[in-house]
């Protein structure tokens, strides 16, 4: 295998992997606040892409405005999901809540299909389609957008959770919810905020990826699963791990498709995940829980 084609696989792998990473980040945020896995996360990614398509092609809005509205729309839907489907049953055991999120995901997907259509759509690239040539491999400007924005989102979230008291308070809600109430944290507000941030992060991923890979009402299923694999691979609850896990899965998938067979492209992510879990059940960057009683 020559340099240019491996570089090509690397570029496309990193690009797709960054979106897996962003989806994984979305899982991480809700998990870190509530301790539940939100299986509707993939739908937020779909909503980002599809809402942008609707705004841009149907309403004829300029691209930047369409992107902005799509992100706001997805954030709003994240908030509605929390208020309508999660808060009324917040005292239920986590497993029930997880199943509710699966229901929400089916609902959002079906609503998008019925209210819009089943076709595949695309979005214009953010800054043209003139490829950049690096050592014989081509790199689309959109890939740079995806990697750059992912880095910004990741850094922003890390700072939020590590440095700001509000980020720490969000983490505290998952560690010890009762104590979070008792130090004066409005836990319900924090859960709402976590759904909104997750939806926003997911939508950012979806809207960036749409120009590269096209989008339709059902892209959320696979993206959601890959994102979930990404955050398990990186260690559940660790934002940095989720992003790294996403990049790793994207790159391995791309090399696997290129070198072995593209028919098994989607299987690679899960094979890697299974192999890793046999060796390191807490993920690449996860720490086993330490507790003293």
């Amino acid at each position: 295998m020559d340099v240019s084609s491996s570089l090509q696989y690397l570029f496309s792998g990193l690009t797709v992997g960054a979106t897996y990473g962003l989806t994984g980040l979305g899982f991480t945020i809700i998990f870190n606040t509530t301790g539940i896995i939100n299986f509707a996360q993939g739908e937020f990614v779909m909503l980002g892409g599809m809402l942008a398509v609707i705004c841009q092609s149907a309403l004829g809005l300029p691209l930047p405005l369409a992107v902005l509205l799509a992100m706001l729309g997805a954030t709003l839907i994240g908030a509605i999901v929390e208020r309508v489907a999660i808060r009324p049953v917040r005292t239920a055991p986590p497993i029930n809540l997880v199943i509710i999120t699966i229901g929400i995901s089916i609902l959002i997907r079906s609503a998008m299909m019925l209210l819009w259509d089943k076709d595949t759509h695309t979005l214009p690239h953010f800054s043209g389609t003139d490829p950049i040539t690096v050592l014989g491999a081509t790199l689309m400007p959109q890939s740079l957008w995806i990697l750059g924005i992912t880095a910004v989102v990741l850094y922003g979230l890390r700072t939020f959770f590590r440095r700001s008291i509000f980020g720490k308070a969000m983490l505290a809600c998952a560690h010890q919810r009762k104590a979070a109430w008792l130090v004066g944290i409005g836990v319900e507000g924090m859960v709402l905020l976590s759904f909104m941030i997750s939806a926003l992060v997911g939508a950012v991923g979806g809207v960036m990826l749409a120009p590269m890979t096209m989008t339709s009402y059902d892209v959320g299923i696979l993206l959601g699963l890959k994102g979930f694999a990404a955050c398990i691979l990186g260690g559940l609850g660790n934002p940095f791990g989720a992003a790294a896990g996403g990049l790793a899965i994207g790159v391995l998938e791309s090399f696997g498709a290129g070198m072995i067979s593209s028919a098994y492209k989607d299987a690679f992510a899960f094979i890697i995940l299974l192999l890793l879990l046999f060796v390191r059940p807490s993920g690449l960057f996860g720490k086993p829980e330490v507790r003293r009683v």
Partner: protein, 251 residues
């Protein structure tokens, strides 16, 4: 400063506390004693807003807080150190204390947080040594100190302490109790203390209430409760029947 009037608290259809009334005056240490399951923790939860009373009122500093949310009650000046300590295990001791000051950060930055933290570190030097360690890895006594320090970071006027001695060695419990008295004397803090170890609690308290199966059956100055025969028999482990028997059964 705190008044509970005819409070009923229920878990579903089971009433855990019935028509309980109590008051705590400014600067007092009041002990609430009773056996396991008597409703002590339930009453604390009703004061701090974790549970809503089915009937009755809770009043703090003249304001009705019966139906207020826990975060509003913290801002009003009541901090609750919960049973079982409930520290934020994976976080450092320092972050635990910082989160204690959360209610002061509503609009961005809060002043004096660093100074308060230093003051608490001076009071609990062991926490300073371990300030970058995950709170969940500390010993039980140290975790209790974290829980108390975290509650104090909110600058409360009333501290609710639920079973601070639970699961701790007697010497550690004594140390914790010494700190409680110190806090009252140094900072004018008012304390409502729930404790199964009735003797230790009544020794540092000014007044006490005895709770039995959800009802307050006795109240009075701590010294009187300590000397009360019923209290001694039920909660202080004294066997009066046996003591009186060698004297010929005369009573």
């Amino acid at each position: 400063m705190l008044f509970l009037r005819n409070v009923d608290i229920a878990y579903g259809r089971i009433r855990a506390v019935r028509r309980a009334s109590l008051h705590v005056g400014r600067g007092e240490i009041v002990a609430l004693i009773g056996a396991n399951g008597a409703g002590k923790t339930t009453m604390m939860a009703a004061i701090s807003g974790l549970m809503r009373p089915a009937a009755g009122t809770v009043e703090f500093d003249g304001a009705d807080i019966t139906r207020a949310r826990p975060d509003a009650i913290v801002r009003a000046g009541i901090s609750h150190v919960p049973e079982g300590r409930l520290v934020f295990g994976p976080m450092t001791v320092e972050d635990n204390l910082l989160l204690g000051s959360y209610c002061r950060h509503r609009l961005g930055r809060a002043s004096g947080v660093q100074e308060d933290m230093e003051r608490l570190y001076a009071m609990f030097p062991r926490l300073k040594e371990r300030r970058l360690q995950a709170a969940g890895t500390l010993s039980g006594g140290e975790q209790q100190m974290v829980a108390i320090a975290r509650a104090l970071m909110a600058r409360p006027r009333l501290l609710l302490l639920d079973e601070p001695g639970m699961g701790l060695a007697p010497t550690v419990t004594r140390e914790i109790f010494r700190h409680i008295v110190e806090l009252r004397d140094a900072m004018g803090l008012t304390v409502l203390l729930v404790e199964q170890n009735a003797r230790a609690a009544l020794r540092i308290a000014d007044r006490g209430y005895v709770l039995e199966t959800g009802r307050i059956i006795l109240q009075g100055p701590a010294g009187e409760l300590l000397a009360n025969n019923d209290v001694q028999r039920a909660y202080l482990g004294r066997d009066l029947d046996r003591e009186t028997q060698p004297a010929g059964g005369a009573a």
